[in-house]
Symmetry: C2
């Protein structure tokens, strides 16, 4: 902040507020109320939040908690926030995350009003830079989530077989995640079609699994506030050689990226290692990237794309997510790794090249 | 739009985009990519979205789908969006939701860039007004979600008893919701302490349930893209008379609001009916409101507060959520109703005044 002439940061989203406070609640699901955290250049953060959150915030290390009874239709915390900023920043510049992967979680009319009172500017990527490198406790939490997901994936043969509707598989897989220790399951996507699937973001249809389908489940489950994010594929009955080969190449690609992942390599380097293994198109295909950061959010900085030259550092947690086209279908494989001092370590249970059969 | 001189609306959030398209995916959990929908004053909506979503969007009724390979670090869809707005709005005013309960889901730096190119202004509350009154199919979906939640709540005695850690209850309750037909469970909060609980937004602790605790579970589960949002309370062992009485008064309050709920009454009226039953404080206590709208989001417009004079109309779906203080603890009860032509109808399975015992 000092380098950028910032007197404070203003944070408005769940992960950013939690990063500095430990304030963990699913109440952010409600879009009604804005929440604010001021992180001064010196001193402890100050929470400016709806009164409904005061008791829980008081259980964190934050002691300056200013509340209003939200929703307030005439002034939903803006005057309270402006006063706090005036007191803390003395008219100095207040950085707000404004780059890729961010948004400001407050009504635009209120943001415009605040901009007329306070000296808001960019956070110069400070939050991104901080959150991108995980502490050992953070890595342990992500690994715990990955271990739970790994156990749930290992039990998929209990719930998925020919004739079971995909929507049932989705429902029961979430139950397995919970049974194995997930606190909640914010994300599940996947597909099951003949020889692949159409995309990786669709909700489940009620179509029953049938012989020749490739089933893919991609979950982001949360344990103690941190995400896992990886997927697994299965063939319903024996897989065609082309499908087996595609899966083999996906594993080859993620293994190659794992081998290349070390401090000093870049996000783009990992793309460059994986991409020729899965496609002839130098720009990649489909999803737009071959992996990303992971942590308090399902997806975080950086992106494994040709233009992201973020230099890998020990403590960064990444997904390796190569995809391959197979006719008009795709197959996608995903693993989670952490960058270490000397290379990388798998956080998800690394799998072999064989596509398992259901 | 014509009344307000708008050439188009620009939408950026999951429920707003889905409202006009039917585009349903949990992929919004990833904060990486912005998504845009342009709703012109005449003609069909136009989607300007990351290529990863093209296939799924093509399954909706939208046929003008413009994509870019996101994330693009130099231009993450902004030029594509600006060109589309120029073509569709011809420099006319483009309304963007900017009031209470909204935010703009795109990076602030990109929004500022877009504002310099396009003529962005308020949506004058059009989206709020539209979404607040539900169609019959929407009401049926919400009711289906409520029925599932009701069945899960009825089975809580299977999973909750003295000695069971609250975190286990939370995990197993989510499994019950899924088993009973939830597609996913975006929200669960609650508490269990002696004679009440401290707040209603905390995640679960590992503390075992003990005699004299009041257990509360408040869930927002999703079925086919629509939420339920109600809670239930139980006493672990026999409840103290004061706790029984508090629960009785909560039911009395929600029943009174139900009786008052009809076209022509206001959101404030329902607050005014409930509040004197649960507190002597005319402004209410704690949570800041005694209920809210419900639908594609866990919480929607209006708010049951003294200052919200929204006039109830047939098709509005509301939660009635009175809370009562009991020493330093609270008890909260919540039901879901729909406003009909002549009054209101319960969507959640209405319960009686007795606090059930585990």
């Amino acid at each position: 902040m000092r380098d950028h002439g910032l007197a404070a940061l203003l944070l408005t989203t769940e992960p950013d507020v939690r990063y500095f406070t430990g304030y963990l609640t699913r109440f952010w699901e409600s879009p009604t109320r804005p929440w604010f955290l001021i992180v001064p250049a010196r001193g402890k953060p100050v929470a400016v939040i709806p009164s409904i959150g005061a008791q829980l915030m008081a259980q964190t290390w934050i002691d300056d908690i200013r509340t209003w009874s939200a929703p307030d239709l005439s002034d939903d915390g803006i005057s309270l926030l402006a006063d706090a900023l005036a007191e803390i920043a003395y008219g100095g510049a207040v950085g707000i995350p404004d780059g890729h992967e961010t948004h400001v979680r407050m009504p635009l009319a209120d943001l415009d009003r605040l901009r007329r009172i306070a000296n808001l500017t960019t956070d110069h990527g400070i939050i991104r830079t901080l959150r991108m490198v995980k502490s050992q406790p953070e890595i342990a939490k992500i690994e715990a989530a990955c271990t739970i997901a790994g156990r749930a994936f290992a039990r998929v043969p209990e719930i998925a077989r020919e004739g079971v509707p995909l929507s049932n598989v989705f429902r029961h897989f979430q139950m397995l995640c919970l049974e194995e220790g997930a606190d909640w399951v914010p994300y599940l996507a996947g597909g099951a079609e003949q020889g692949g699937y159409g995309d990786v973001i669709s909700p489940a249809s009620d179509t029953p699994l049938s012989k020749g389908d490739v089933l893919m489940l991609d979950t982001g489950l949360v344990r103690d506030g941190y995400f896992s994010d990886f997927d697994r594929n299965w063939s319903v009955g024996p897989a065609q050689p082309a499908v087996q080969d595609a899966h083999k190449r996906l594993i080859e690609a993620s293994d190659a990226a794992f081998d290349a992942a070390r401090p000093g390599a870049t996000a783009a380097d990992l793309f460059t290692v994986m991409n020729p293994i899965v496609t002839d198109d130098a720009q990649g295909t489909g999803a737009g990237r071959l992996g990303h950061g992971l942590g308090m959010s399902l997806t975080e900085w950086p992106s494994l794309i040709p233009t992201d030259h973020t230099v890998l550092q020990p403590g960064m947690v990444l997904t390796l997510e190569p995809g391959i086209a197979l006719g008009d279908k795709i197959l996608v494989h995903e693993e989670n790794i952490v960058i270490t001092e000397t290379g990388a370590r798998f956080l998800s249970p690394r799998i072999g090249p064989e596509l398992p059969e259901l």
